[in-house]
């Protein structure tokens, strides 16, 4: 009888790479002081990054949603309505209500869409987001139509802050949420429930014959993805100070998928890295090449897909690995 090997339980810990990520977070934390002009841009990028992690979760189960901006928008609109109902509401309450709104919407939509796979799953998500977009556009007496709704600055722990300090707090909140929710998502992927969720990609028949409902397994991940999009939506809405139907427009959903692929499909860290690079490229490309910036972005993605299918995180990983090897010599 063969003996049990003592191979590692999981991939070997990549301490040097983890250190690089810690350095990355520290560098981000220094942005408001080192490059203040980038502060708002990075806040937007992290808000989008959280939503992209939501899309990434589904990619791990082999499903692509072309409508996840729905939860991004629902959370942002929930905040706007809450601020209209309770002027001066606290940022923590906004975060809670917006996220719960996205989670509830995720449950309602999820119970239906988890019955489908592949293109049907993707297009049904798109259909739900576009239905909500139509509601936002048509019920203008409630939603403000295409103009949207203003989202006044909330208080922070009961304190009414000026724009500068508020944006700084929002910036650090975005970093904290990135670290905490990113860590939770990575842990969830490694957990039994997360692993069962990911088997939807490879063998639903076996999953059913393990006594597990594939639909329920997919729903668990769908709820997590809706929650992440919701948190991103709250951050974006509060940072921009207004919410519009553009939040749930299909282009926004496509942008999330675009960033997920750019960053490295299935990678949590890649989602944030992709969002940062995307936001920087988009901002500067639109500033310096206003007429062709979408084309530049498209070309950028093409290059990534053709020459680095692992996305930016794959490039980063191989560069970091090479640096660690050099260091070891």
């Amino acid at each position: 009888m063969s003996s049990v090997s003592t191979a590692p339980k999981t991939d070997a810990p990549k301490h040097p790479k983890s250190m690089l990520w810690i350095v990355g977070v520290v560098l981000l934390a220094a942005v408001p002081f080192a490059v203040p002009s980038l502060q708002l841009l990075v806040t937007f990028a992290l808000a989008k990054g959280l939503a992209v992690v939501g899309v990434t979760v589904l990619l791990r189960a082999g499903q692509v949603s072309f409508g996840h901006a729905l939860f991004f928008g629902i959370a942002a609109y929930a905040c706007a309505f809450l601020m209209a109902a309770i002027p001066g509401a606290d940022l923590a309450l906004l975060l809670l209500v917006g996220t719960l709104g996205a989670l509830l919407a995720g449950l309602c939509v999820g119970l239906f869409v988890v019955r489908y796979r592949g293109i049907f799953f993707g297009m049904l998500n798109l259909a739900f987001s576009m239905i909500f977009w139509s509601i936002l556009e048509k019920f203008y007496h409630i939603t403000g139509g295409a103009d949207g709704i203003r989202l006044p600055r909330p208080t922070v722990l009961g304190m009414a802050l000026e724009r500068g300090p508020f944006e700084l707090i929002l910036y650090y909140l975005a970093i904290v949420l990135m670290v905490v929710l990113g860590w939770v998502t990575i842990r969830w992927f490694a957990s039994p429930v997360g692993q069962i969720f990911q088997t939807i990609k490879t063998n639903e028949t076996r999953l059913e014959y393990l006594g597990v409902s594939p639909r329920r397994a997919l729903l668990s991940g769908y709820l997590l993805s809706a929650l992440l999009c919701g948190v991103g939506g709250v951050l974006m809405g509060v940072a921009q100070g207004a919410v519009t139907p553009e939040y749930v427009w299909w282009v926004r959903s496509a942008e999330m998928v675009f960033i997920a692929v750019l960053g490295g499909a299935g990678s949590v860290r890649g989602a944030f890295l992709g969002a940062l690079i995307y936001e920087i490229v988009r901002t500067y490309a639109s500033a310096y090449a206003g007429d062709i910036w979408q084309m530049l972005l498209g070309a950028f993605l093409l290059i990534i897909i053709l020459f680095a299918p692992g996305g930016l995180i794959g490039i980063f990983g191989s560069l970091a690995g090479r640096a660690v090897k050099e260091d070891a010599k």
């Binding site: 842990r187 957990s191 069962i196 990911q198 063998n203 597990v212």
Partner: protein, 249 residues
């Protein structure tokens, strides 16, 4: 009189005029290894599919430990103690052999803690032991796509055993495996089944395997059980030699 572990009553199903099961009534007692033999297309796999809820019969009932499970989906039947191994191994191809078993154990134990690592679950040692039982401990940390067909078959059976079933239904456990490996696989399998006290039903085309490892044989023909008895008696029956062994040979 004891309740049979699995019982079917008047199972009937047709596919476009082809009768796959024709009023099948069968009792399977606990503690036996029953082999089902028969010509291709006789309805053997359909029988397994009906018993595990994958296909619903047009008429009839499936009872497991006396409970009617005919209308239940596969997962509910699995939860009651029926496991399945497939002709083409059904594994999670992006996972290692050990991870396949750990996922099965997590499903069995209802592990819902979202922050514990799959590899840190309490069933890890038990699953490593199960891999040893099926002689696959040395490939525990390899992706299942990298393994031989024989190893994949054994992992597929180990995944089913990880569920601690009372009954294991197997569809051609040695098909696609080199002749030289078949006996080895069956030895490992029968030993593992005995150790885990699992009753088994297996569809098989290799009469040598049937003769050596089955306690009982059921001959399936034209959607029903034509004969049933001890291997020595059944495999020498003229009808079986003409209709089944002749065709297989």
């Amino acid at each position: 009189m004891t309740t049979p572990l699995l019982e079917t009553r008047n199972l009937t199903i047709t596919f476009g005029g082809v009768i796959a099961a024709n009023d099948v009534s069968l009792k399977i007692e606990a503690g036996r290894n029953l082999a089902i033999i028969g010509p291709n297309g006789a309805g053997k796999t359909t029988f397994l599919n009906i018993c595990t809820g994958w296909i619903k019969p047009r008429k009839g009932q499936v009872l497991f430990q006396g409970e009617d499970v005919t209308a239940l989906p596969p997962r509910k039947i699995v939860q009651r103690g029926v496991a399945r191994a497939f002709q083409i191994p059904q594994l999670f191809t992006e996972h290692t052999a050990l991870e396949n078993l750990l996922i099965a154990a997590a499903a069995r134990d209802g592990m819902r803690n979202p922050l514990i690592d799959l590899h840190d679950t309490p069933a890890r040692d038990e699953m490593l032991h199960l891999l040893e039982m099926v002689n696959c401990a040395d490939v525990a940390h390899r992706l299942v796509v990298e393994l031989s067909e024989g190893q994949r078959k054994l992992i597929d059976i180990a995944v089913a055993l990880a569920l601690k079933p009372r009954l294991l239904l197997m569809d051609e456990p040695t098909s696609g495996v080199a002749s030289s490996e078949k006996d080895g696989i069956m030895e490992i399998l029968i030993t593992a089944l005995a150790e885990a006290k699992v009753t088994s039903v297996f569809v098989e085309h290799d009469m040598g395997i049937v003769q050596k490892y089955a306690d009982e044989v059921a001959v399936w023909n034209a959607g029903n059980v034509q004969l049933r008895g001890a291997p020595a008696e059944i495999l020498e029956h003229p009808d079986v030699i003409r209709d089944v062994i002749g065709e297989v040979a």
